[in-house]
């Protein structure tokens, strides 16, 4: 990694154009992945990605340059080039680079990169072989496994000198059930920052069975109905609703330029009183965790909503300048090719008091989404949409027939107010979030919740 003395010279060059802040972000990522289709290994890849980004700020103006070069002269020239984009005469103070401090959110007993690809393949084969012989309706099984180690090193003009190592594993199993022309899928895709011991302990057969069952249930299911109705959203990945409909609108990227539907809402009610939510980046071993963010700041366990009241925004250093507040340690980026922005980590609706079984029993008619797919949101209007991968009708307080093809749409502000029941079965689930600073690992989560009314887009009137 870049030596302290070199870093100091790069920062000096970067500050020569009048910037009031300069930062070096150095990243090295080693990755390894395999992919299986119907039991055969059809993909195996390995790579090293190295690069450096240099960011300057002057007030709320940002200059960002990046490269794969690592020679000192190349980097100093790049820093000078960046500095020349700022037209200021005043020079700001530069603090001396502190001694390097290291952190990691990963909890590794067995380093995943020390495990051979053959072992990774054997693990996926268990799932694949099981699914292939599960039922004649299962016609395709794909499985993948990817692991990486990402070391980030941040030095800035305020003296920061931080290094964080992040090791992650994510794998997936997808089963396809076929009936005539109809094909439906079941999917699991867990992610972790624990070591390979996570894989050794994972109940792969049980989870693959569920995956096959979902695909078969959905291929036999009729279409979901259309119209407004109460919707019970299952725990775990169901939290994608909160991530999309609320989390993004609490990021300073939107709030800082008043482009969010939650602008100026601190201390005000934005959700029903049964809703409390957090963004906690400091859960050891969790997929979306980090101890040091991509701007060198310590991450936080942030209370976003307390009993319906908006308590905090997710603020990165640029957002802090715009909003006149302190950053919360949420500056993240996919890699060195992106300037950081405010992003989520492990974001979830906290446990409530209801037994999930009671929530279903108290719903006379509605939709029960047990597995959610992805979605998207317009943070200015709050309009969102997301798809359900597995859903059932609720009739007379009981889970009735499975239905497919349901999309939930609405406005974040309204949906949050319409959450009327919150269960006590909080679960987190891994995902990837795409936004201005690229695709980053996040977890979403929630207990079982009920929204009193959501527009369901299905195919049956």
């Amino acid at each position: 990694m870049i030596k302290d003395a070199t870093a100091q010279r790069i920062i000096e060059a970067a500050m020569s154009g009048g910037a009031d802040f300069a930062e070096i972000f150095e990243e090295e990522k080693k990755s390894s992945a395999v992919g299986l289709l119907n039991g055969r290994t059809i993909r195996a890849s390995s790579g090293i990605d190295y690069g450096v980004g240099i960011r300057l700020m002057l007030g709320t103006n940002v200059v960002y340059v990046y490269t794969c070069d690592k020679g000192e002269n190349d980097l100093i020239n790049l820093a000078k080039e960046a500095a020349s984009a700022l037209k200021s005469d005043s020079l700001s103070a530069i603090r001396e680079v502190e001694a390097l401090s290291k952190s990691t959110p990963s909890v590794l007993v067995i380093d995943p990169l020390s495990v051979s690809k053959k072992t990774n393949i054997d693990f996926l084969k268990q799932a694949s072989d099981y699914a292939m012989s599960f039922d004649a309706l299962i016609t395709q099984v794909s499985a993948s496994y990817a692991t990486s180690n990402r070391i980030i090193h941040i030095v800035n003009s305020e003296g920061f000198n931080k290094e964080e190592s992040q090791t992650r594993i994510r794998f997936s199993v997808e089963t396809v059930a076929t009936k005539g022309n109809e094909k439906q899928t079941g999917r699991i895709a867990p992610g972790t920052m624990r070591g390979y011991e996570y894989i050794n302990e994972y109940p792969i057969i049980d989870k693959t069975r569920e995956c096959c069952e979902t695909a078969i249930r959905m291929v036999n299911a009729g279409y979901a109905p259309s119209g407004k109705m109460p919707v019970v959203i299952g725990n775990g990945f169901g939290g994608v609703i909160f991530h999309e409909a609320c989390g993004h609108a609490l990021e300073s990227t939107a709030v800082g330029i008043k482009a969010s539907c939650f602008t100026d809402k601190l201390g005000k009610q934005i959700a029903s009183p049964v809703v409390s939510a957090r963004d906690n980046a400091r859960i050891e071993g969790e997929w979306g965790s980090y101890m040091t963010d991509d701007t060198g700041r310590e991450s936080s366990d942030l209370l976003l909503i307390e009993n319906g009241i908006c308590r905090n925004y997710l603020v990165d250093d640029l957002g802090a300048r715009r909003m006149g507040c302190e950053p919360t340690g949420c500056g993240r980026r996919q890699d060195y090719s992106y300037a950081p922005t405010s992003r989520m980590s492990n974001t979830y609706i906290d446990n409530g008091e209801d037994d999930p079984a009671d929530i279903i029993a108290d719903t006379e008619y509605g939709l029960y989404c047990t597995k959610m797919g992805g979605g998207s949101v317009d943070t200015a209007t709050g309009e969102f949409n997301f798809a359900s991968e597995e859903a059932f009708m609720i009739r007379n307080g009981k889970i009735a027939e499975p239905v497919r093809g349901a999309t939930l749409i609405g406005k974040g502000q309204e949906i949050l107010m319409n959450i009327d029941r919150v269960g006590n079965d909080l679960e987190l689930s891994a995902g990837m979030c795409g936004s201005m600073s690229g695709n980053i690992p996040v977890t979403v989560g929630q207990p079982t919740i009920r929204v009193s009314s959501i527009l369901v887009g299905g195919r049956e009137a």
Binding site: A44, S46, I48, Y64, E81
Partner: protein, 458 residues
Amino acid sequence: MDNTFEKELIGKLVDKALEYGFEEAEACYMSSSSMEINILNGEVSSYENSKVNGIGFRGKKNGQMGGSFTTDIDESAMDFMLETAMENCEVLDDEDEEFIYCDPEHPELVSIQLSGNYSKNTYEKFSEVGLELEKKILELSDDIKAVDYLSISCGTGPSISVNSKGLHTYKDSDYITIFAEARAQKDGVVKTGGHYWFGKDIDEFDPEPFLKILKKKVLGKFGAASVKSGEYKVILDSEAFVSLFQTFAGAFSSYSMQKGLSLLAGKEGTKIASDIFTIREEPMYEKALIKFPFDSEGVLTKSKALIDNGVFEKALYNLKTAHKAGTESTGNGFKDAFSAPVGISATNLVVTPGEKSFDELCEWIGEGIYITELNGLHAGVNKISGDFSLFCEGYLVKDGKIARPVEQITVADNFYDVLKKIIATGSDTISVPEGKGEYFCPSVVISSMNISGDMEEE
């Protein structure tokens, strides 16, 4: 730019690979330079500049092709790439063979599509154009409160590949894109809308047509209400149709077919769409910003129909899938990045236009919905079965005219059914950048689609 060093480096890597025990090998080097400015509140809020490069390697041993990549280019990286690629060969057991290829008649393939205008792309020039554009957007109406996002970016850079069969390829091109998103507020209701421009010469950017469309995309949404659920005739505007088609474009890949992931398997030569629908792949289409004379495997591309008057002519093949099917590659073997394996992609696609203008299409359908945006395409679709249920925006068409905007509605249908229900295409072709290249597509009329809304009665 002189790339002698890189050419030698990847040539050396290929030679070393053969010594290392690979039977065949290929290496590619890609370099890219880019610049981007963002405008916010009358200022250049951010400026980005980059130069990145990387090497991708693939080598064949015992019929298996192992790959590796690095952006950390030095001698030790070569050893890493060869070692890990060999390890990958050893664990693979793909029953379908991948090939390293060189067309004996075309061992040297060169495609230089540099505009000669790239040096105009300076910080000063982009700032001037961007600041002026922001000002003009804000002047469009008092209801436009902010331009939340405005970026101008450009990129260029060569891509070189060399293989042990004697192939040498060289590609370079450049582009500029402009994107702006405005936010408007009226009577407490917020609406946003964005528009883009792309080209190769910043001086060719004409703000007037851009502003006209952006204005419609933002302010046209006020006064929106939902509709009653039911079956409607639908006009999909070019962008909406392209986004839908692109979502399911993987179904036309022979790879998806061979792996049982496409319902089009076995349907080559049969009717899959309405008689009036033709879509062609034109890699060298004259109006396209980027042309594709050859693919990443060194196979020459060709002009061909994907769907010709409703008949699915031929799937897209690369060398691997063509070998399995006993046919020839269609020149669609593309890598998405130097680090990626060879996949299958279409280049520029052209939908044959019809005779009617957009206004005539509205008049012709009389009553229906004109859809301008389909949202949630990454989530609300089943890529295999073709089922989709998507949040959409657009307008209600009444008495042959646009009556009012619609919101909070979803459209649910099946892609393969939609292809059969196309009853007209307009004469209003526009270019929509999507996938590897562009689509040239007019408005497309669908005889009926299922719309959900929460309005009781009109």
